[in-house]
C-alpha cells in the first residue's frame, strides 16, 4: 500500500516538474526575444563588426543623431526611426522570380493551401480534445467518462499523424517561397525577423507538448495526474493559438501593411507590424473556421469508419463520434458568418476598393459560390439532424414538420445566394431592361442577405432543439408554458429578422450595418437562451426510449462527408479570395508583384485549382484515417459490457 502511495506521489512529482519545465521552455523564446523586441527589431545577435562599431563611436553622439532617418507609418501615421531596407522593386527576371517551366503562383498556392489545411486541422483537434477530455473528467457517470476519454484519445490520435504532415508541408512551403519568390520572402522575413524565431520555437514547444500529451495518456489517467494531463491540453492550445496568430500577422501585413513607411522600410515597432488593421478580424475568423473545419474532418473520419464498420458496436461508436464532431464543428460554424461579416466590414473600412473588389466587383461571383457553400453547410447539418431523429424513439413526431423547415431554409438560401451582378446574355440583359432586376435585385444586397443567413441559422438552432428533445418529453411543471414561450420566442426572432432585413432598405448604409446587431442578437438569443431554456425544460424529462446509436440511415453519413468536403472547398475558396484581393501587390501598396502571374485568374481556373487542393487533401487525409484505423486494430478488444447508448466500452490502454 505504502509502495503504491509513494509511486503515485512520485508520479505527481514528475508530472508537476514536467509541466513546470514545459512552462519555462514555453516562456524561454519570449525571454530570448525580449532584447530584440525592446530594440524594435534591431539585430538581436551579432551586430555590426567591431571596426564599424568603433568608427561609429568615434563619430560621437551628434553624428549618430544626424544619421537617424525618421519615417512615417503608412497605417498608424506615427513616426519612427527607419531600421529596415525598403521593399525590393522587383522585375520580371530570374533574379526576382526564378521559375520552373510552370506557373510559380499555382505551385505556391497548392503548397500554401495544403499546409493550411493540415495546420488548421492540427490546431482545431486539440481544442476538441481539451473539451472532450474535460467533459470526461467532470462526468459523474463513469461509463460516460471513459467514453469521452476514449473519444478524446481517438481525436488526438488522428491529429498526431496529421501533425507530422503539417510540418513536412510547412517545410515544402518555405522551400517553395525560397526557390520561387526569394525577393518577396526575403523582404517579409526581414520585417518579421524579431518574431520569426519565436514562431519557430513555439512550433518546437507545440510538438513537445503534443507528444507528451499523447504518449502520456495512459500514464496520467488517474487523479491529479489526469487533471495535469488535461491542463497540458490547455497549454498545447495556447501555444497553437499563438502560433496561428503569428502566421495570421503575415497575411494581415500583406493585405493591410502597418509598421513600415511608404517605401516599406521597417520603423522599429514590431507590434505595429503584427497589429495591422485586419489582424484581429482574421484571428477570430480563423479560429472559428479552423474549429468548424476540424469538426467536419473528424466527423468525416467517423462517417468513413461507420460506413466501413463490420459490427454494430463499431457502428454505434462511430455514429456517436460523428455526432459529437459534427456538433462541435457546427457550434463554431454558427458564429462564423458573423466573424466573416466583421472581417469584411474591416476590409471595407480599410480600403474601399478592396471591399468593392471583393463583394461588388471582380471577386463578387466567388462570394456567390461561397454563399452557396455556406448554404450547403447549414442545409447538410439540418439534414443530418433530421436523419439522427430517426434513431430515437419519439423522434418521428418532429419529422412531419421537416417540410416547413425545408421551406424556410430554401427561401433563406435563395435570398442569400442571389447574385448582385447577374450572369446573363446580352439578350437577357435587354429583356430585363437593365443590369438590376427589379425583384431579385433587392435580394442581391447585404440587407436581404443578412436576413437570409439569419433565418437559416435560426432554423438550424431549432433543428438542434428538436434533436435534444428527440427521445425526451419535458416533465417540468411549467413545460406547457415553456413550450409556448419557446415557440413564440423563435417566431418573434424570425419576424424581427424579416422586419430588420426590409427596414435596411430605408436607412443609411452605416446605420444599416448597425442593424445587423439586433438581427444577430435575435439569432444568438435563440442559440443561447433557446438552448438553455430547452435544457432547463429537459432537466426533468420523460424518456420515450433509448438512442439507438448505430441505427442511423447511411445517407446521414454521406451528409457528414459532404459537410467536411464543403468545409474544405470553402476554405480553399476563401483563402483564394482573400489572397486575390491584393491584385498585383505582394504587400498591398508597398511591394508590387511584377511576376508574369500578377493577374486574377478566371473563375473556372481558380475553381479547378481549389478542387485539386481539396482532392489532394482528402486523398492524403484518407491515408491519415487509414493509419488511425491501423492503430485501432492493435488496440485490445473492448469488453462487451452494456454502456449508455450501446456504444462499445473504451479500451483500457492505448
Amino acid at each position: 500500500m505504502g509502495r503504491l502511495k509513494s509511486r503515485q506521489s512520485g508520479k505527481k512529482f514528475l508530472a508537476v516538474t514536467g509541466l513546470f519545465a514545459m512552462g519555462v521552455m514555453l516562456l524561454l523564446p519570449i525571454f530570448v526575444a525580449l532584447p530584440a523586441l525592446a530594440g524594435g527589431g534591431a539585430p538581436a545577435a551579432g551586430g555590426p563588426p567591431p571596426d564599424v562599431v568603433a568608427a561609429e563611436e568615434a563619430e560621437g553622439v551628434e553624428g549618430e543623431e544626424a544619421k537617424v532617418e525618421i519615417g512615417r507609418d503608412v497605417y498608424y501615421k506615427t513616426e519612427g526611426p527607419v531600421v529596415g531596407a525598403p521593399a525590393p522593386k522587383t522585375a520580371d527576371t530570374e533574379e526576382f522570380y526564378p521559375r520552373y517551366n510552370f506557373e510559380s503562383r499555382v505551385l505556391l498556392w497548392v503548397a500554401n493551401q495544403q499546409h493550411l489545411y493540415y495546420g488548421s486541422f492540427v490546431l482545431a483537434v486539440p481544442i476538441f480534445c481539451m473539451c472532450i477530455e474535460f467533459a470526461g473528467l467532470v462526468s459523474k457517470d463513469k461509463a460516460m467518462a471513459k467514453k469521452y476519454d476514449q473519444l478524446a484519445y481517438d481525436f488526438v490520435k488522428i491529429s498526431l499523424t496529421a501533425y507530422s504532415l503539417t510540418a513536412i508541408l510547412g517545410g515544402i512551403l518555405i522551400f517553395t517561397f525560397l526557390t520561387l519568390y526569394p525577393a518577396f520572402f526575403g523582404y517579409l522575413s526581414s520585417i518579421f525577423r524579431p518574431v520569426m524565431h519565436i514562431y519557430a520555437l513555439m512550433f518546437v514547444a507545440e510538438s513537445g507538448t503534443l507528444y507528451i500529451y499523447y504518449y502520456g495518456w495512459d500514464k496520467m489517467k488517474d487523479g491529479l495526474l489526469k487533471w495535469l494531463h488535461c491542463s497540458m491540453s490547455v497549454v498545447l492550445n495556447v501555444i497553437g493559438t499563438v502560433l496561428m496568430f503569428l502566421a495570421n500577422s503575415w497575411i494581415g501585413f500583406m493585405m493591410s501593411p502597418a509598421g513600415v513607411d511608404e517605401q516599406g522600410r521597417f520603423l522599429g515597432n514590431i507590434w505595429h507590424v503584427l497589429h495591422t488593421a485586419l489582424w484581429n478580424p482574421l484571428n477570430v475568423h480563423r479560429i472559428l473556421g479552423n474549429m468548424a473545419f476540424g469538426g467536419g474532418v473528424v466527423a468525416a473520419y467517423a462517417a468513413y469508419r461507420f460506413l466501413s464498420a463490420k459490427n454494430d458496436e463499431e457502428r454505434a461508436h462511430f455514429d456517436w463520434m460523428g455526432y459529437i464532431a459534427m456538433s462541435l464543428g457546427v457550434a463554431f460554424l454558427i458564429p462564423l458568418p458573423f466573424a466573416g461579416y466583421w472581417l469584411m466590414r474591416e476590409v471595407y473600412a480599410y480600403r474601399q476598393q478592396m471591399g468593392i473588389t471583393l463583394m461588388g466587383g471582380l471577386l463578387a461571383w466567388l462570394f456567390i459560390i461561397q454563399a452557396t457553400m455556406i448554404g450547403i453547410l447549414f442545409l447538410t447539418t439540418n439534414y443530418y439532424l433530421w436523419q439522427a431523429l430517426g434513431r430515437m424513439t419519439g423522434g418521428e413526431r418532429f419529422q412531419r414538420y421537416i417540410k416547413y423547415f425545408v421551406f424556410i431554409l430554401v427561401v433563406g438560401l435563395l435570398v442569400f445566394i442571389t447574385p448582385h451582378t447577374i450572369v446573363m446574355t446580352p439578350a437577357e440583359l435587354k429583356a430585363m431592361g437593365g443590369q438590376q432586376h427589379p425583384v431579385l435585385g433587392n435580394y442581391g444586397v447585404m440587407s436581404a442577405k443578412n436576413g437570409g443567413i439569419n433565418a437559416i441559422i435560426m432554423t438550424t438552432i431549432a433543428s438542434f432543439i428538436w434533436y435534444q428533445r428527440g427521445n425526451r418529453v419535458p416533465a417540468v411543471k411549467w413545460a406547457k408554458f415553456g413550450n409556448i414561450f419557446l415557440i413564440t420566442f423563435f417566431v418573434v426572432a424570425h419576424l424581427n429578422n424579416i422586419w430588420v432585413a426590409c427596414y435596411g432598405y430605408f436607412i443609411p448604409a452605416n446605420v444599416r450595418i448597425g442593424l445587423s446587431v439586433p438581427q444577430v442578437a435575435g439569432t444568438l438569443s435563440c442559440l443561447f437562451f433557446g438552448s438553455a431554456l430547452n435544457l432547463a425544460m429537459l432537466s426533468k424529462s420523460r424518456e420515450l426510449g433509448p438512442i439507438r446509436w448505430g441505427q442511423i440511415a447511411p445517407r446521414s453519413q454521406y451528409a457528414l462527408i459532404m459537410l467536411a468536403t464543403a468545409f474544405t472547398w470553402m476554405m480553399g475558396l476563401m483563402g483564394y479570395i482573400r489572397s486575390s484581393v491584393r491584385l498585383f501587390w505582394h504587400v498591398n501598396e508597398i511591394m508590387r508583384d511584377n511576376s508574369p502571374w500578377a493577374y486574377t485568374h478566371t473563375i473556372g481556373f481558380g475553381a479547378n485549382v481549389i478542387s485539386f487542393n481539396v482532392l489532394f487533401f482528402w486523398i492524403t487525409i484518407l491515408f491519415v484515417f487509414w493509419l488511425g484505423a491501423l492503430g485501432a486494430k492493435k488496440a485490445p478488444v473492448p469488453a462487451t459490457q452494456p454502456v449508455p447508448g450501446g456504444a462499445p466500452q473504451p479500451a483500457t490502454g492505448h
Binding site: L362, L379, Q399, I402, V406, V423, Q435, N442, R555
Partner: protein, 321 residues
C-alpha cells in the same frame, strides 16, 4: 401573367409570400387528400412542387429572370425537395418506391415504363449533347462587373483626390461644416417605387429660390442633372431616360438598391468624373458610354450633381463611422 400585378416596392416580399402561400395550399390539399385516403404519392408530390417552382419563376416574375439565376434557384429548390422527401426513413421509402418498382419491373406497365426510360434517357442525353455542340450565334455571356473597384486616388482637373477620405464639400450643415447626418435628414421623402413624394423638411425646399446652404447646392446639382444627365438616367433617376434604350446595357438605375445606395459618395464622384472610358481593367467589357464628365463639368459641379442624386433617390451614401 398580368392579372395579379407585382406591386412596386413590395415585389421581393411578394414573391416569397406567394411561394409560401402556394406551398401552404399544397400542404393543405395533400393533408385533405390524405384524410380522404387519396394522398398524392411522395414521388409525384416532390416532382410536382419542383415543377411548380420552376414555372412560377419563369412565367410569374417579370421582367424575365436570366437563366443563370433560374438554374441556381432550380438546383437549390431541387436540393430542398430531396431533403424533404428523404427527411425520414418512411418518406424516403415512399419516395423511392415508384422508381424501384420501375427498375424491378414489377408489372407489365412498369416494364413498359422501364423500357421507355431505357430508350428515352439516352436519346435525351444524346440530344442534349448534340445541341450543345451546335454552333450558336447568340452573343456570348458577359460577366460584367457593375461596380469595379475604384483606384486609391483619382486626379480631376489637376487635383488629386484620395477616395478613401475625401468628403463632398457641399454636404454641409447650416454652419457650413461637413455633416452627413444633417443632410441625410433632409433628403426627399419617397413614395412607393422610390418616386419623389415631398420634401422632408419644408425649411429645406430646393424649389425655394431663397434656399441657402445644403439645399441650395442640391438645387444647383439638380439643374446640372437636368441639363446633362437626365437624357439617359431619366427624370426619376431610374435609368429610363429618353435615350436610354439606344444603349445596351441601359444606363444605371439610381433608384435601385444595388447602385448608388451601396457606394461611397467618392466612388460616384470618380465614376462621374472618368465615365465609361475611365473604367479600370476590372470593368471589362467596359460596356458604358457615359462621357468622362470632368471634360464638361467642374469639380464643384460634379460634387453637386452627385449630392443631388442621393437627395432625389432618398438614399444615403455609404460611410463607415
Amino acid at each position: 401573367m398580368t392579372w395579379l400585378k407585382l406591386v412596386e416596392g413590395y415585389m421581393p416580399m411578394q414573391m416569397i409570400s406567394e411561394l409560401a402561400g402556394s406551398i401552404l395550399v399544397f400542404a393543405l390539399v395533400n393533408w385533405a387528400l390524405n384524410r380522404a385516403g387519396m394522398g398524392i404519392p411522395k414521388f409525384w408530390a416532390g416532382i410536382g412542387v419542383w415543377i411548380y417552382i420552376q414555372l412560377y419563376l419563369k412565367y410569374r416574375i417579370y421582367p424575365p429572370i436570366p437563366f443563370s439565376v433560374r438554374a441556381i434557384y432550380g438546383t437549390v429548390s431541387g436540393c430542398g425537395i430531396f431533403m424533404w422527401v428523404s427527411g425520414s426513413e418512411g418518406e424516403w421509402q415512399e419516395f423511392k418506391r415508384p422508381i424501384l418498382n420501375v427498375m424491378d419491373g414489377i408489372s407489365g406497365f412498369h416494364k413498359g415504363v422501364r423500357t421507355a426510360a431505357l430508350i428515352v434517357i439516352p436519346l435525351a442525353l444524346g440530344g442534349f449533347a448534340y445541341n450543345s455542340f451546335l454552333p450558336s450565334f447568340e452573343e456570348p455571356i458577359e460577366l460584367r462587373t457593375v461596380h469595379p473597384a475604384p483606384p486609391a486616388t483619382t486626379k480631376v482637373h489637376g487635383k488629386t483626390f484620395v477616395l478613401q477620405v475625401v468628403e463632398n464639400p457641399y454636404r454641409v450643415n447650416d454652419d457650413g461644416k461637413y455633416d452627413q447626418a444633417f443632410t441625410d435628414a433632409r433628403i426627399v421623402e419617397q413614395a412607393m417605387g422610390r418616386l419623389m413624394k415631398d420634401v422632408n423638411d419644408p425649411n429645406y425646399n430646393p424649389w425655394d429660390p431663397n434656399a441657402e446652404g445644403y439645399i441650395k447646392y442640391v438645387r444647383e446639382g439638380g439643374e446640372i442633372f437636368f441639363q446633362n444627365c437626365h437624357f439617359c438616367h431619366g427624370d426619376n433617376l431610374n435609368g429610363r431616360g429618353l435615350w436610354a434604350y439606344a444603349f445596351n446595357p441601359i444606363p444605371a438605375n439610381f433608384t435601385d438598391a444595388g447602385t448608388i445606395a451601396q457606394l461611397q459618395e467618392t466612388f460616384v464622384f470618380w465614376r462621374v468624373s472618368k465615365g465609361g472610358i475611365g473604367l479600370p481593367g476590372e470593368g471589362f467589357p467596359w460596356a458604358s458610354v457615359m462621357p468622362p464628365w470632368e471634360q464638361h463639368l467642374t469639380v464643384d459641379e460634379i460634387w453637386k450633381v452627385v449630392m443631388f442624386e442621393y437627395w432625389h433617390t432618398g438614399y444615403y451614401p455609404r460611410t463607415w463611422d
